[in-house]
Amino acid sequence: MAMLLVLGLESCTDWLTTKPDSEIVLDDYWRNEAQAQAVLTACYRGFTVNTDKGENTVIDRLIVWGELRSDNIISGLGSPLLRSDMVEIMKVNIKPSNKYCDWGSMYSIINNCNTFLYYAPGVLKSDANFTEGKLHSMEAEALTIRALCYFYLVRTFKEVPYITTPSIDDTQDYNVPKSTEREVLDHIIADLQTAQKSARFDFGTTADNKGRVTLSTVNTILADVYLWDQQYANCVAMCDLVLMDPNLELVPGTATGNMFMNVFYRGNSTESIFELQFDEQTQKNYSAMYLYGTSYMPLGELSCPLFLVKGDYSPFDYKVGSNLESEIDKDSRYKDFIDQNFGKINGVYPIFKYAGVVRTEDQQKNSSYSRRYDTSKWIMYRLADVMLMEAEALVAPENPSDLDMQRAMYLVNKTYMRSNPTASPLDISAYASKADIEKLVLRERQRELMFEGKRWFDLMRVARRYNSPASILTYVSPKLLGNVLGYTKMSVMNALYFPIPQGDIDNNKNLIQNPFYDETTSSN
C-alpha cells in the first residue's frame, strides 16, 4: 500500500499537468517560421483590432492625439453617446484619468514587437527553412512598427518609458521609469536605420505593399522623425529617397473627385505608402465610422468647425495680398473633404473624408454626396504628405536658401495644382519672406491632410521650432472662444503634451507625472 502511494505521488505531478487545447504555451511556441510570422502579423493587427465596438481603438487615439486639439475639429452631434472624454480634451481640460491618455493599446503593439524581436532569432535553429535573410526582413518590419509607436508616444507625451524587453512572467519588474525625449528619439532613429538595411521593397501584391512596412515606409517615418527632431537636412534626404521610389505616384486629380475616391474610398492607391488594412467584416474601422460618419450617420461624433469653412481662419478662404490663395469653389478638397451641402442646411459641417464614397457634381456645380456603408482603411502615410514634409524641412531652417524655397514652392504646387486644376500655380513672388512660405506649407498641409491625424503634430512642430505655443493659439483661438481657462492652459508649452495616464501613475511607482499635470504644482 505504501509503495503504491509513493508510486502514485511520483506520477501525480505529471497527472496534475494539463495544457490548454485552444492555445499554445510558450515552451511549445517559436518552433517554425509560420509561428514567427503570426506574431509579426499581430504587431500590425494591434492597429486594427477593435474592442468595445470601437471605443478603445488605436485609430481613436491617432485621431484624438493628432487632430482633436487642432483647429480642424469640433464636436459633431450624430453620436449615439457623446464621448465626454473627447469633449474634455477639446475644452483643454485634460485629466490623467481621461480615457484617451491611455496608451495601453500602443504598448500592446510594442510588446508584440518586443516579443517577436526577442524570440524570432531562436526559430533559425528549429526551422531549417527559416533563413537569416527572412529573419532580418521581418525584424525590419517589427523594428519599424515599434519605432512608429514610440514616435506617436513621444510626440503626444514627450517623455515615455522606453521598453524593449518582452513581458513574459510575473517576476519581471514592470515599473519602468520615463526615458527622456532625446533618448526615445535616438532609439527610434537607430531602429529605423537598422530597418533600412533589410526592409523589403516588394511583397508581391498591392495590398501587402501598402499594408506592410516597405523600405519607403521606413524612409518616410524616418523623414517624419527627423522633421520632428529638427534635423531638416536629414529629413529632406529621406523624403528625396521616397520621392524616387518608382512605385509611388500622386493620384491625378479631376474636378469630380476621382482622387478622393481612389485615395480614400478604394484605398491602396498609388500614392499610398503605409495604409492600415481594415475590412468590412471583422476588422472594421469603427473609429472612422463613428467619429467621421457613415451613410447611417451622416454626421459623426466629430465635425468640422465653421471657421475652417469660411472666414479669415479658413485655409480655403485665404488671401495673399488681394488675391485669394485658394478659392472656395475651385479647390476640390474644400468640397471633397467637408460635406458642404449638409453644412449649409444644418450649420454643422460633417467630415466627408473617409466617410464618403464619392462626391458628384451636376452641371450647375451642385454637389451631391454619397457615403459609405462599410468601413475605410486608414492611411498612415502617403506621398502628398512626404512632399509637404520635404517642403516644410526646406523652409524650416533659420535662413533657407532661395533654391530650397523654390523647391518648397514646387512641392507645394504639386498638391495644390492637383486640386486646383483651373488655377494658376502659386508664385513665390507673392510670398515675400521665409515665414510666409513656412505658413503656406502649413496651410497646404492642412488643406491636403485634414482629418488624417496630422494637424496637431504640424502645429506642434511649429511651436517647438519657435519654442512658443503662440502660433498654435492663433490657429485654435476661434475654437477656444469663451473658454478663458482653456486658452490660458494652452499658453503653456508643457500643456501641449498629454499627461501620463493615471492608471500607470498608480501602478508604476517609478513613473512621474508630466510637469503641467503634476498635482503638487497645479492645484491648491
Binding site: G8, S11, W15, L16, T18, P20, D21, S22, E23, I24, V25, L26, Y29, Q35, A38, V39, T41, A42, Y44, R45, T48, P80, L81, L82, D102, G104, Y107, S108, I109, N112, T115, V160, P161, S167, D169, D170, T171, N175, V176, D208, G211, Q281, T282, Q283, M289, T294, Y296, M297, L485, G503, D504, D506, N507, N508, K509, L511, T521, S522, S523, N524
Partner: protein, 1102 residues
Amino acid sequence: MKSNFAIILLFLLLIVPKMAFGQKAGNDLLAQGTITSKTDGTTLIGVSVAEIDATNRVVSGSVTDMNGHFVLKLKNPDNKLSISYLGFIKQIVSIGSKRVFNIAMSDNTHEIANVTVTAKKKMNQGGFSIPTREIASAMQTIDTKEFEGLQVSTVDEALQGRIAGLDIVSNSGDPGSGTSMRIRGSTSINGNNQPLIVVNGVPFELNIDPNFDFANSNQEQYASMLSINPDDIQEITVLKDAAASAIWGSKGANGVLMITTKKGAMGPTRVEYTYRYTGKMQPQGMKMLSGDDYTMLMKQAYFNPTQSETASNVQEFNYDKSFSEYENYNNNTDWVKAVTQIGNINDHYLTVSGGGERALYRVGAGFYNENGTVIGQKLDRISSRAYLEYMVSDRLKFISEFSFTYTNNDMNYIMGDAPNKDLSILGIAYKKMPNVGIYSQDGSGNSSNEFYKILENSGLYSDQKYLVNPVALATLATNNKKSYRILPTFRLQYDLLDPAKQTLRYSMYVSFDINNDKASSFLPQEVITGSWASSNMNRANSTDSEGLTIQTDNNLAWMPAFSNTDHSLLLYASLQTTSGSSSAQGVTTFGLENQGDASTQGTLESIRASHASWRSMGMMGRFHYAYKSRYILDGTLRRDGSTKFGKGNKFGNFPGVSLKWIMSDEPLLKDTKKWLSMLAFRPGWGISGNQPKFEYLHYSRYSNYGSYLDMPATQETSIRLNDLKWETTSSFNYGVDLGFLDDAYVFDLNLYSKRTKDLLFENTSLPSTSGFAALAYQNAGTMDNKGWEVNFYANKFIKTKNFSVDFKFNLSNYVNTIVDLNDGILKNVNNEFDQKNGSYLTRIQVGNSFGSIYGFKYKGVYKYNEYEPEIGHTDAPVSRDAKGNVNLDENGKPTPMVFEYNTTSKSATYVFQGGDAKYEDVNHDGSIDKLDIVYLGNTNPIVSGGFGPTFRYKNLSCNMFFNFRYGNKIVNIARMNAENMYGNDNQSTAVNWRWRKDGDDTSMPRALYQYGYNWLGSDRYVEDGSFLRFKYLSFNYSVPSAKLKKYNINKINFYLTINNLYVWTKYSGVDPEVGYGAWASCYDNAKTPRSKDLTMGITIGL
C-alpha cells in the same frame, strides 16, 4: 481520465477478489420443503427462501409456489437458509446435510415488551462518522423540518438568518437569481468567497470554464443551488472553522455547507405528495413623479443653469399641439406599476420511498413554476432524485444516487450599452420619463398596440432618448437559459473485518456531474431607438456550454477495538481525485433581418469558443481519539494538488487539530449535572485554502489574435504566473458548549480569529507599458477576520400536555482587518476624488477594515442667493471662517463659496448659488474640494442574527422567524438617482419640495440640468441600514392520523406561510438588505426587491 479509472480499478482489484471469487464451488445440491403458518397450519405462498453466507450475503434464492413449496439449488452446505415473509418472524436455519426443510412460521403480531434503546447520535462527515457529542469543531446542523411549509426555490433562502456566522443575502428578487453566502465574513478579497457545497459527501461545484465570456449573461445569475430541490434535503451542516473544513483542504477556506439528502427508510412503500401555492407581491418602492410634475421639473432644470428660456424650450416638454409627437409626450405613465405584477409559484413534489432488509429506496420528483413580480420573468424547474441502497451482505453495500434537474429560466433582457447598461427592467422603469406613453398614439391620441419608442431624430439628451421602453423590453426581448444537470453517483462500502468485532471499512465513490447550459437572447428592433448600424438592432446571442466532472474517493476507516473501553480511536485515510472538462461556444450577431437566432444572416459581432480541462487530487489522513468519551483529540492532514499551479506550487498542505474537554462529565461535577447537563470547551486550529478560478495561469500562452491582410495573427495573451500560490487561511476557534436542565437550554459559543495569507487578487493591474492591462492573479496581501457567534436553543422550555414552545436565537459579529496589501492595489482602489457628482471615495487602509464610506457633509440648501444680513438673508453661499464669520474680499464684499478653487488660475470650477446644496467647508478655505471629504460610516453591521419561537398545540404548530442587522450604513444610490434633478431621468416625488425661489426653506436643492454640484457623494444619501425583519410566520397543521386511517391515508398536513411580513427600519429604500459589492461597498441600486409572499400548501402521504 484514464489514470483516474486506473486508480479505481487498482483498488477494486485489491479488494474485490476476496468477496467475488472467494466462494467454495458446491456440488449440485437441491434443498426443498414446504412453508406453513404456525398458527393455522395453512401453506404460505410467496415466502422468500434465501441461501445466505457467513456475512449474510444472499447467494441464491427462491420463492414458495401456490402450494407453499420451494426448491432451491444450494451453493454451499456450510451456508444457512433464511426464510422470511411479511408479517411473520424471520427464521434462519443451518443447512448441513439436511435437504428437506418443512418449516412452520410464527406471525409477529405479539406484543413487544418495552425496550429502551440507547444509541449515540452520530455525525457523518464524508465517510467518517463520530458521535455528535464528541465533535470538537465549530459546526451547526439544521434539520429541514424546521422550515417545512416554507416556500423557497433554493435551500439557501431558507437558511437565511438561521445559522450564526452564515450571512446570506439574496442577489435580487428575480426568480433564480441566487444568493451570496458568506461564512464568517469574507476571507478572500476577490478570490471566490462562496462556501463549498457538499452533497452527500461529494463536492458540488458548477463546472463551466470561467474563462468563457458569456456575452450579456450576468455571472451572478448562475445559482447552482437551483439544481438541488429543497424538498430532497434532510439536513444541512455548516462547517465554520478550519479544523473542520481542513478536510476539504484547498476548497474549504470559505467554510463548507454539507447537505444530506433524504433516503429511504425500511417499511412499506410510502407515497407522499406536496403542493404549495405562493402569491408574491412587490413592496412599495419610491413614489415617482407623474408626467405633469415631471415636465414642470424638466423645464425648471433646463432654465436654471443659465436662466434661459431658450434652453428650456424643449418640444418634448412643451405640450405644444403643433409638435408632431405631441400625443406621445402628454401622458402620465406609472412605469413602475406597468412593469410589476403579482407573481406566483406552483410547486409540486412527489416521493415514493420504502425498503426492506436488503434494499432501501427513495425516488422524488418535483415540478416548480414561478412567475416573477416583474413582467417577463418565468422560471420552470423539473427535478428528480433517486436513491437506492442495496446491502449485498452485512459487509458489502452498494449505493446509487441519481439526480436530474432541468431549469428553464426566462429572464429579462439586460442591455450592455449606456444608458441602459446593466439596468433591470425595474431600474429602467424608475428612470423612464413618465410623460411618454407605453403604446404609441396617433394624432388624435388613440393608442395603437405598438410600443412607443422615442424617435431617432428627437433632440432629447441621450440618457432618455436611448433609454428603452421597459414594457417593450420585458415583453418583446427574450433572454432564456435552459440548463440540464445530471449527477449520478455510485458508492461501494465493504467491511474488511467482521463489523461486529472491529470496523475496518473500505468505501469508495465515483460521481459524475454532467451539466449542459443553453442561453439565448434576442433584442428586437422594436425596442431600440437608433440607426440600423447600431449593434443593438435585432441583436441575438446564443451560448452553449457543457461540462463534465468526475470525482472519485477511495478511503479506509479503521476503528480498532480496545479491550479497555475508555479508549476509542478512529483512523481514516482517503485519496480523492477530480478531473473535469468543459467546453462552451457562443455567437453574437446583430442586424438580423428577422426575429431569429444568432446563426441566421446578420452582422457577426463575435464567435467565442473555449475548452478547458482540469484535475486535482487530495490525500488525507484523519484521526479521532476519545478517552472516556470526555477528552477528545481530532487531527487532520490533507495534501492537495491541482493543475492550476505551476511546478513548485502544485501541492498545498492543510492541517487541522481540535480538542474537546467535556468538563460536565468529570466525576467532580457530578452534583451539578442535574442542572448543568453540558459544559465543554473546544479549542481548534486549522489551515484551509482557496484557489484561483482559472486554469493554465502558470503558462505564457499564445492564442489567435484575428488576422491582418488574410494572414493569421497570434499573440501572447497572458503573462506567466511563476509566483502564484494557494491562498491559505489559518484559523483559531475557541468554542464553549453549554447545556442546562437536561439540555432544555443549549448555548453554543464560538470565538474565532482567522488570518488569510497570500490573498488571491484577480486582475491586478499592471503598468500598461507592459502591454497587458493586468496580471490574471496575484498573491497580494494578508487579511484578518475576528468574530464571535452565539447560538441559543430552548427546547420545549414551556411544556404542558398539549402545548410546547421552542425558542432559538443566534447573534454574530465579525471584524475584518487588512493587515498587509500590495501598494499597487491600494493605490488603485484608493482613487483620487474625480470631482464628479455622485461619487463616493473608497479608501482601503492597512490596519482598518474595509467598507468605510467617505464623502462630503451635507448641510441642506442655501436659502438665499445674496448675502444680505441687513434683511436677514444670512443663509447664502458665502465662505466663512472657523468662527462662522463671513470672509470678505479686498473690496469688502463677502467671498462666495465655490467648488474646486484652483490657486494657479485663481478661478473655480463652480460658484455656489441660492438653492444649491450646502456642503460643510471643513477646512474653512471657502472652497468645497477633496479636503472637505470626511468619513461617513461603515457598511459592516455591528451585529446580525435571527431568532424565533415555535409553538405547538396538539397537531398545530406555529413557527415564527425574525432576522436582523444592526449598525451598518448603506449608500442609497437609487434615491440619489431619483433626487439629483440633473438629467432627464424621472425623479421621486420628494423633489416636489425642491428649492424654487429665493427664501424657500427646504433641504431639497434646485433643479439644475447637467450643471452644478448638487449631488456630490455626501451623507445625504448614506443611511442607517439597521433592520428587523419578520421573516416568516408559518402554520402547520397535521390531521390526526386516527381520523385518516379509515381512508388509508397516512398523513395530511396543511401549511400557511407569510413570508417577509414586516420590516422595521429607518432605511428609506425598498429593502435594507443590500448585498456587498467590491471592497464591501454597499450600494442600493434598486434591484428587484424581495417580495412579500403568501404560501398555502398541503402534503398527503399514502
